[in-house]
């Protein structure tokens, strides 16, 4: 027996030793094997957008007097590329173009609009809002400023001010854009049925610009989801149809290089994942650019399909490291998503979800707070959010289901 015992014991020790050293050796600096070894692939800089940017840069050098208009045009193109590629460096490049005016309180109108938009994209909402207010005092009839303002107020959950900004557009711009702006507020606040009817009527009108059509379709899809529609097989086709139509419109030449925006891809992927269609979500995102929200959905799809990869998780962990530690508020939503669905650390998720709630208050942000609170068993932590949703009249099918699980 003693011999048997010893043999088994050495097996156990061997098992431990193997475990320790087989998987050991983490990342460490290294010298590549040969000069031809490719270390990094850069995102392609070909295509009409990049050619145009290069040409505009040349024009700037030739003719400095044209600066504000040309610089604004370059910045605008960087932002359009950002929407389809999701690379934050592109936002930073747009900001770089506007650097000569960065210290001016009242720069030229197009520069001020872009500056506010960049602040909004970086989730500096208060700064974007005060910039826009200041601009509107100067140029009260600037529709773009009202529209951007409406979008910011909507994200922050200030529905009254969002409605007010949309209403200004009725007089200053066309009725369809103003109506869609209002529909986005209605969709959140219990009037989703009217909003969807309006959007679908608008989509029937002929001769829509592809970009406008893509926007209306995405709004319609999200509104259908607020009403309880989803992308599960066998349920109503409204939500998935609108999502697909949004992507198709973008392909018609809506945005840079006829590619769908990261936003519309993520919105459709979320709908598919909620409907249990992990394989379809994976296929949708397979060729999408490697932006954080895309990689997060891909990772969740892979997890559901049993194809989880440690490399993917490590990549996300590195990218979201500061946000997970609570040191990058602009990424708190992504950090929450990662902690809740992939790391499965609901306490950490709840902390980040509440940070994020201070910055943005869209249905997905409420959903992340409620789910984190439920998963960590800390119902009371979500109470202010549940109350806020009730006071502001927010209605969303998913949120309703979640709220029902909280003790009264």
């Amino acid at each position: 027996m003693a011999v048997v015992g010893r043999r088994r014991m050495s097996a156990a020790v061997l098992f431990c030793a193997a475990l320790l050293f087989a998987a050991a050796a983490g990342a460490a600096p290294f010298v590549p094997e040969h000069d031809q070894q490719i270390l990094e692939r850069l995102p392609p800089r070909s295509g009409s957008e990049w050619t145009a940017i290069a040409a505009l840069h040349e024009q700037l050098e030739r003719d400095p007097a044209a600066a504000p208009a040309v610089a604004a045009e370059v910045a605008r193109r960087y932002l359009e590329l950002f929407r389809v590629e999701g690379d934050a460096r592109l936002v930073a490049y747009a900001q770089r173009e506007l650097a000569p005016w960065s210290s001016l309180a009242d720069p030229p109108v197009e520069i001020a609009l872009l500056r506010a938009e960049i602040a909004q994209l970086e989730h500096r909402f208060a700064e974007a809002e005060s910039d826009l207010q200041r601009l509107l005092e100067r140029v009260p009839r600037e529709p773009q400023a009202w529209l951007t303002l409406a979008a910011i107020e909507l994200v922050r959950g200030d529905y009254a001010n969002s409605r007010r900004a949309c209403a200004k557009l009725v007089l200053l711009h066309d009725a369809l854009v103003a109506g869609a702006c209002l529909a986005a507020v209605q969709a959140a606040t219990g009037e989703a049925a009217q909003a969807l009817a309006f959007l679908e009527r608008g989509l029937e009108s002929a001769e829509l610009e592809p970009a406008l059509a893509a926007w209306l379709e995405t709004l319609a899809a999200e509104t259908a989801e607020a009403l309880g529609g989803n992308c599960a097989p066998g349920s109503s086709e409204a939500a998935p149809n609108h999502h697909r139509a949004a992507l198709a419109s973008a392909m018609d030449g809506g945005s840079a290089g006829a590619r769908p925006s990261v936003y519309s891809l993520v919105a459709y992927a979320d709908c598919l994942l909620r409907g249990g269609e992990a394989r379809a979500a994976q296929a949708l995102l397979a060729a999408a650019p490697p932006a954080d929200p895309i990689l997060l959905r891909l990772a969740v799809a892979e997890k559901r399909l049993g194809e989880q990869s440690d490399a993917r998780l490590e990549q996300l962990r590195f990218r979201l490291q500061l946000a997970l530690e609570g040191r990058a508020a602009a990424h708190a939503r992504e950090a929450t998503y990662f902690a809740l669905y992939l790391l499965e650390q609901p306490e950490l998720a709840l902390a980040r979800a509440l940070d994020n709630w201070e910055v943005q208050r869209e249905p997905i942000d409420a959903r992340l707070v409620l789910e984190s609170a439920l998963a960590s068993g800390r119902h009371e932590a979500a109470r202010p959010v549940v109350d806020w949703l009730a006071v502001n009249g927010v209605e969303h099918a998913d949120l309703k289901t979640l709220i029902a699980r909280f003790a009264p």
Partner: protein, 364 residues
Amino acid sequence: MTGRRLLALLACVAASSAFAHEPSRSLLTLTVDGDVIRGHLDVSLRDLEEAVGLDADADAAISWGEVKAREQDIVRYAAQRLRVDAAGSACELAVSQKTVDTHGGAAYAVLDLEGACPAAPRRVRVSYGLMFDVDPGHRSLVEIGAGGTTTSAVLSAEHRAIETDLASLSPWSSFARFAAEGVSHIWHGYDHLAFVALLVLPIVLGRGPGKRRSWRGASLEILRVVTAFTLAHSTTLALAALGVLDVPTRLVESAIALSVLLAAVLNVVPAAPRLGAKLAFGFGLVHGLGFATALGDLGARDAGMLASLLGFNAGVELGQIAVVAAALPMLLALRCSAFWRNAVRYAGSAACGALAVVWLAQRL
């Protein structure tokens, strides 16, 4: 108007869009030891392409040869934009670039830094100015270590310098904080508790019929086994925390569950070897890796590695001792009856084994 209108619509859609991609980020690690400063700055190749240009053949791929060809420019670029001051005068800093690394799937050039300050500094100021002119969204994650403690900061175009009082970083505060975390980890780490229980059960209750140790003998044996377990998990905890070992979390967690299952089986199978000090040591190696994951999640790197490591270890020990001390009188009382001895040993081991199967299923 069309161009303007296009922008307007997209702006509205994108308002709610997440700020999608991490902005460019470099990693700066510095250690101050007396008047000597050492460390490295990792800058992504994408950033260096933007700042100094690497892709000589413009094929949208950066090869090692292309990086080496620009080595002098890279070094000069960094050296001109990085500065360490001690007591108001600049430390000499030599920069070299011989290796690369990967972080989060992206390739980084590793710039080794080595230098000396006029005197051993009590306070250093690190100024960082890479990338900001081409990428205003750039960030640098800076960690400055001295005397076993680390302080960290995120530098940006708006905050380009960090000043650290090296003397004020207290190892004791890190130690105390992590000792508390260690106790809490043991109390909430049911898998470790189960394992400790499985170590203690057969010693107190005996393994075969009729065998029964004196309480003194039992206590000494417990001390031996728990110490072996402790030595082992302290070793792997230290190795993992210091970065020598890096085992995927899932593998570690599964192995811990498996160790509980094996221990439970060894306890109830009569012919199995006794769960003595040597086996406790072997399994302890695995549990240490689990502690390391917890320690990493708590941000030990920011709080000073050595102090937090020692503190966490001490906390884990205290937690373990408390559990054993609480359970021991009850078990010693029970062992007077052969019936209860066997009942507790089999039931306890079976319960732990069942739990381990559940954990294993969850973690695999």
